[in-house]
């Protein structure tokens, strides 16, 4: 088995008196995989991915990238990106009045000497990219403002951004929430495509059916803890829901039995 791409050990994080994560262990395999991260609002999903993408530094714990330990004090957005983690926030990650190209290259402009932007190259690369991920609409070009796109297309711009920079791990923060069923299916296709291309994916949602549809592995977070972790092969979606209910009712006490029983 290959070394895990990412491993978090005993990660805790609190904001003032509120503890958002309590000694969490989480990993992404070395081979590409799709992990569904499920949980209610306020369960700690967002905090977890913000730690992975370097926006928050954890209070304590250990982070390993490809088996190498990273000092958590040095962990940052830049570092996280440098190790190949890309986060796709819904369309709030886009600068609406800017062009598609400018959005894709935001913060990482293709520049020549003295920092001047190679606009033509950016436009042509953006055009190529949009075609590659299956944008068929002829109405817009990479120099139209994002404002003019539909919800799904906007998300596509954000995904194209991650794709262009050849991420090892792509984090999708509730990508399907605002989308119609067909548009959500498009995004699933893309996630599977990305896995084939060698990119792992963490897929965050509170829709358990969506998560189950596309994931190889589901991780359930509740009140700052990972209460359940399950392989898709060993579980049906009904079983998953039943187990989750059981854990919720028992306040986490039966967690051990369920997880043990299944592994």
């Amino acid at each position: 088995m290959k070394t895990k791409f990412l491993e978090l050990k005993n990660i805790s994080k609190s904001f003032g008196k509120v503890s958002a994560l309590k000694r969490i262990n989480f990993y992404i395999k070395g081979e590409p995989e799709i992990v569904g991260l499920i949980g209610d609002n306020g369960a700690g999903k967002s905090t977890l991915i913000k730690i992975i993408s370097g926006i928050h530094a954890p209070d304590c714990g250990e982070i390993y990238i490809n088996g190498k330990r990273i000092r958590i004090k040095n962990w940052s957005v830049v570092k996280s990106r440098a190790s190949g983690v890309e986060t796709v926030y819904q369309d709030r990650a886009l600068a609406m009045q800017q062009t598609i190209a400018r959005n894709i290259f935001m913060g990482r402009e293709l520049t020549s000497i003295f920092g001047f932007v190679k606009s033509k190259l950016q436009f042509s690369e953006a055009d190529r990219l949009m075609r590659m991920i299956g944008f068929t609409s002829k109405v817009f070009a990479s120099d139209s403002a994002v404002l003019n796109l539909s919800g799904g297309e906007r998300q596509g711009v954000a995904i194209a951004r991650a794709f262009y920079f050849k991420a090892n791990l792509m984090i999708l923060d509730e990508p399907t929430t605002a989308l119609s069923l067909t548009e959500a299916q498009k995004i699933f296709t893309f996630i599977r495509q990305a896995k084939k291309g060698g990119t792992s994916c963490i897929f965050i949602t509170h829709n358990i059916y969506h998560a189950y549809d596309v994931s190889d592995r589901c991780v359930v977070v509740d009140r700052g803890k990972i209460i359940m972790e399950t392989d898709r092969e060993h579980n049906t979606v009904e079983q998953l829901i039943k187990d989750m209910q059981k854990i919720a009712q028992s306040n986490g006490k039966v967690k051990e039995d369920i997880n043990n029983g299944r592994s």
């Binding site: 993408s53 926006i55 957005v77 830049v78 990106r81 986060t87 926030y89 709030r92 990650a93 886009l94 600068a95 609406m96 009045q97 800017q98 062009t99 400018r102 935001m106 913060g107 990482r108 402009e109 520049t111 003295f114 920092g115 001047f116 932007v117 606009s119 002829k138 070009a141 120099d143 139209s144 403002a145 404002l147 003019n148």
Partner: protein
């Protein structure tokens, strides 16, 4: 076979045609603010020429206007960067007065005027840096921070200079004077500097990483941060750029009017005129978008209104009324150019 090739060629041509049409539409769409400011300016000039062709078809009035207009242009252009980042700087005219004081005092003491100018620009940049730090590091709202800075600087200049004017007439016809406010034929050199400021600002705003990133910051601050843009540095740089411009504008105004005289109260009118230039040029206060060329045109528009209304035979007392009217009309015209 030939038929197929012909068809393919036709298809290629169609695609090419559609692509170039889309590019033109996008170009118009992306530059609609500057273009609409330009249209307003052209209409205004035509009106003035029709009403008073004797004055407005003669070069004297343009010479006079091109002497003082550059100061406003130099001040207005960098403000676009700050406003696009969703901040504001209200201390720029005080900063200009402050820089001018530094320049006048040192030049009067017999220092090399080029060195004095460098000092003035550094002083302006330092004020910009402090403004930026107050906003970004301490987290003050830029409007309040720069209002504070405005009074602080005015007080400093008034107290430091005892409101004693410093004449700069001794600089007339020196190489320094001729470099910045001399004449080529009848054309005031300072206008060339203003055009240079325009070119530099346009390069920075439209073609440089700085302009690209500052637009993203003003458009979506949170996301810019998440995408790894160094928001703090970029914002501070925008304030520093305004400061540098204040230093340069201070020297220009010293050379144009040949004195330093810190009249309390008068800076506000200039401040509002410059801000109005930026706004009627098509840069909104909502952040994310702006136009340097628009601000340039805006500055011209306002300056020509001021002279034009008087020359057109309307009572001088009504100048501000018409200025306000035209500003409102120009702003209204931008509303009709929303993106679709």
């Amino acid at each position: 076979m030939a038929d197929l090739e012909k068809k393919q060629n036709n298809l290629d041509f169609n695609q090419e045609f559609r692509r170039s049409r889309r590019r033109i539409i996008n170009f118009l769409n992306n530059n609609r603010r500057a273009l609409s400011a330009l249209v307003v300016f052209i209409i205004l000039m035509l009106l003035f020429i029709i009403v008073n062709p004797k004055i407005f078809l003669h070069r004297e009035i343009y010479e006079a206007i091109f002497r003082s207009l550059p100061i406003r242009i130099v001040l207005a252009l960098p403000l676009v960067f700050v406003i696009v980042s969703k901040e504001i700087d209200l201390s720029f005219v005080s900063n200009m007065t402050f820089s001018l004081w530094i320049f006048a005092a040192t030049a009067n003491a017999g220092w090399n005027p080029f060195l004095c100018m460098l000092l003035a620009i550094l002083a302006g940049a330092l004020v910009g840096l402090i403004n930026g730090m107050l906003v970004v590091r301490i987290g003050l709202q830029s409007m309040m921070a720069t209002i504070g800075m405005k009074f602080l600087l005015l007080g400093l200049v008034a107290g430091g200079s005892n409101i004693i004017p410093i004449p700069l007439t001794f600089l007339v016809n020196t190489p320094f004077y001729n470099t910045f406010v001399g004449k080529i034929g009848n054309f005031p050199v300072q206008m060339i500097w203003a055009v240079m400021a325009l070119v530099i600002s346009m390069l920075l705003f439209n073609y440089h990483k700085f302009g690209s990133q500052i637009s993203c910051i003003g458009d979506n601050l949170e996301s810019s941060r998440e995408m790894g843009i160094n928001v703090a540095t970029i914002k501070i740089l925008a304030f520093v750029y305004v400061g540098i411009a204040c230093g340069f504008a201070g020297v220009l105004s010293g050379l144009t009017y040949l004195s330093f005289y810190p009249k309390p109260g008068s800076p506000d009118e200039l401040m509002l005129a410059v801000l109005a230039s930026v706004f009627i040029g098509g840069t909104p206060t909502t952040g994310g978008v702006g136009t340097i060329f628009g601000a340039f045109i805006g500055a011209c528009t306002i300056r020509f209104i001021e002279t034009g209304i008087i020359e057109a035979g309307l009572s001088g007392f009504f100048t501000q009324f018409f200025m306000g009217l035209i500003i409102l009309l120009a702003l209204t015209s931008h509303k009709f150019h929303k993106s679709h």
